[in-house]
């Protein structure tokens, strides 16, 4: 593969975990729940997925286990913030702290273990297209799944009644409640589904992308995914674009290092974090823009009786 092919291929594979987690968080936020537990959820799912893959050897089972672990944490978070009306910031943080502690504890036995690598399936004929063929059509299925989820989500949000109801719950839960929709259950379903996607993303990291278990291996991707939802002004396809952009930044750092650019490795590794801050600043500087696009009840508790 030539340089461009490599870059495109790397952008896709590095952007995918961000895309999936970002899409999951988008579902949460569209229903009005801010999930600061994404990082911890990804970590727990990563270790669950890795352990599953290690013992069963099945990648798809591992991804499913990761998603299930994510959904379970989503259930806990959802119950706390939706039924007990705990502070969403604090609860999400608690899930993140719990997740990093729990994954470090469970993962002790898997540090340094290796998975049997399975080569990604190749799409016949299409992968023979010159220049982009191999980059675009020789990826892990999860990469295409992310694209499908983004497309499906756009259709769901803007073309189906259920999507409209979900968005209404995030915009004005009081109105949705008055129309007879079970606001709390819808929110819980959204939180669980979103957390499952975060889990899938975490499992992809440890089973397909790295594939290794290292303590704290999500490396802030959960937080970057949160920033992505703002960057994308809460639109699924823009999340996909943003994720690949960030994937590119991650790869740029490795690429520059390989080219022998004389910048210390640590400064290169700062790139994704610094670019997240820069992007947040650029997108947030117009408060009206954010206010128009952000789900109106994001982060606010809803009391059905009141």
């Amino acid at each position: 593969m030539n340089g461009l092919e490599l870059l495109v291929a790397a952008m896709l594979s590095a952007g995918t975990p961000l895309a999936i987690a970002g899409l999951g968080l988008l579902v949460n936020e569209r229903a009005g729940v801010l999930n600061l537990g994404a990082e911890g959820t990804m970590l727990v799912a990563a270790v669950t997925g890795f352990a599953t893959a290690y013992h069963t050897g099945s990648v798809s089972l591992a991804l499913a286990a990761g998603a299930a672990a994510g959904a379970l944490l989503g259930l806990v978070l959802g119950w706390l913030v939706i039924w007990l009306n705990t502070n969403q910031y604090a609860t999400g943080l608690a899930v993140s702290l719990f997740g990093s502690g729990f994954s470090a504890f469970v993962g002790l036995g898997y540090v340094g273990k290796q998975l049997v690598e399975t080569p990604a399936p190749v799409v016949p004929f299409l992968s023979d297209i010159p220049v982009v063929g191999r980059a675009l059509f020789q990826q892990h299925p999860v990469v295409y799944l992310a694209i499908a989820v983004a497309g499906g989500m756009t259709w769901f949000f803007y073309r189906t009644r259920a999507g409209l109801v979900l968005r209404s719950v995030g915009e004005s839960p009081v109105s949705a409640h008055a129309l007879g929709y079970p606001v709390r259950r819808i929110r819980l379903a959204a939180v669980v589904a979103g957390a499952a996607l975060c889990g899938l993303s975490g499992a992809y990291l440890s089973v397909v992308y790295t594939p290794l278990w290292v303590e704290g291996m999500a490396g802030g991707r959960g937080w970057i995914a949160l920033a992505l939802t703002v960057f994308a002004t809460w639109r699924p396809l823009r999340i996909l674009a943003g994720a690949y952009l960030f994937g590119g930044v991650t790869m740029l750092q490795l690429h520059l290092q390989a080219q022998g650019v004389q910048i210390p490795a640590q400064f290169m590794s700062m790139l994704p974090y610094v670019s997240t801050v820069v992007v947040l600043v650029l997108i947030s500087r117009n408060p009206l823009w954010i206010r128009l696009n952000m789900p109106a009840s994001l982060g606010k508790a809803f009391y059905p009786g009141a």
Partner: protein, 357 residues
């Protein structure tokens, strides 16, 4: 059927009791976990919760561990009360440690003769400037560009960590250190004075306790402190009263950044005596739990920091005595905060049995 009913006024008793219940839940989870791991739960819990109090040396170690936690948590309590979600105390802690450690390193290299007590204010100032500057970035981006402080402060933790790593792997590496990523050991003159000879507990502990008292006065006995806090529960009321939310963002972030920075400087010039890549054991994140366990109250933060120090030290002891991984501490911290938040529901609500009439 059990249901929740809103209380007319929040219950003070529940507010105090809630951390106790959360602790009981955490101990219960620990009990089950130890059983599952095939350990004697009674023995492990004794190591975990009681050994850290056993003897004078253990008590001073408890004070040593709680020093950075109190300092970080005080600032966070102020932030959270004002609805400013600074969760990057860890990064501010590191930058304070780098600043304080930098000054100490400079004195060591230049061979300057200073006394420990004369150096202490310099150290505190350097730490406060380092941590404050790091938090000022968050405040500026929040104030000027409306950038979300949660994400910015957290991203800066990663940046601070990498910056520290660059320093100790690069320009500040000890030339005689056999290529280990660490600075040379600081001169004895830069050490934070110890409270008791032969123990690691230093006067930073007293500083932290003093800071808690000052914070209490500021929060509850000054008009300025009140202004900040109105914006938390009721931004509209704060705006109506003419209290500036911009001032709240700047003040809370600068204060909490400076406090976390001082904590970092104490840690570096106190028990560590040099800079390494592992200056913090997650104190900035643990402090978030301390702040909530301490009910966002300065004096509560002292109690909360003691409890979390017990967890930290208990985790280390459990590793050396009963062969349990110290990573367990992280699990318990998470369980504690989650169950605390759940229990806090009872501060604003009460349980009612029976159907709604």
């Amino acid at each position: 059927m059990i249901r929740l009913e809103a209380r007319p006024v929040p219950s003070l008793a529940m507010s105090v009791l809630s951390p106790v219940i959360a602790l009981a839940v955490t101990v219960g989870v620990g009990f089950a976990l130890f059983l599952a791991l095939g350990k004697d739960p009674g023995r492990v819990l004794q190591v975990f919760l009681l050994e850290p109090f056993h003897g004078v040396r253990a008590l001073t170690e408890l004070g040593l561990k709680s020093t950075p936690l109190v300092l970080c948590a005080l600032g966070l309590a102020l932030c959270f009360r004002s609805n400013v979600w600074n969760i990057g105390a860890e990064g501010q802690f590191l930058m304070g440690g780098i600043a304080g450690g930098g000054v100490a390193l400079w004195i060591t290299q230049e061979g300057l003769g200073v006394s420990r007590w004369a150096f202490l204010p310099v150290l505190v100032l350097a730490g406060a400037l380092g941590g404050g500057a790091w938090a000022a970035v968050v405040a500026w981006l929040k104030d000027r560009f409306n950038a979300n402080e949660i994400l910015v402060s957290l991203m800066l933790v990663y940046v601070a960590n990498l910056f520290l790593s660059w320093l100790v792997f690069g320009p500040w590496k000890d030339p005689q250190g056999f290529n280990f990523p660490q600075t040379m050991s600081f001169a004895a003159a830069t050490e934070v004075p110890r409270v008791v000879r032969g123990m690691r507990l230093h006067w930073g502990f007293a500083f932290a306790l003093g800071a808690a008292v000052v914070m209490w006065v500021y929060m509850f006995r000054t008009y300025h402190g009140l202004q900040l806090q109105v914006g938390g529960p009721s931004p509209a009321a704060a705006r109506y009263a003419g209290f500036s939310s911009r001032a709240a963002v700047w003040t809370t972030l600068l204060v909490s950044g400076a406090l976390a920075g001082v904590a970092g400087a104490f840690e570096v010039a106190g028990p560590m005596g040099q800079l390494t890549p592992h200056v913090s054991s997650g104190y900035g994140f643990t402090a978030i739990i301390v702040a909530f366990v301490g009910r966002l109250h300065p004096l509560g933060c002292i109690l909360g920091s003691l409890l979390l120090s017990v967890f930290l030290i208990g985790g280390e002891l459990a590793q050396s005595r009963v062969g349990l991984p110290s990573a367990l501490t992280g699990v318990f911290q998470g369980v504690l905060l989650l169950s605390l938040l759940a229990c806090d529901t009872l501060v604003h609500n009460r349980l009612r049995v029976g159907r709604l009439r």
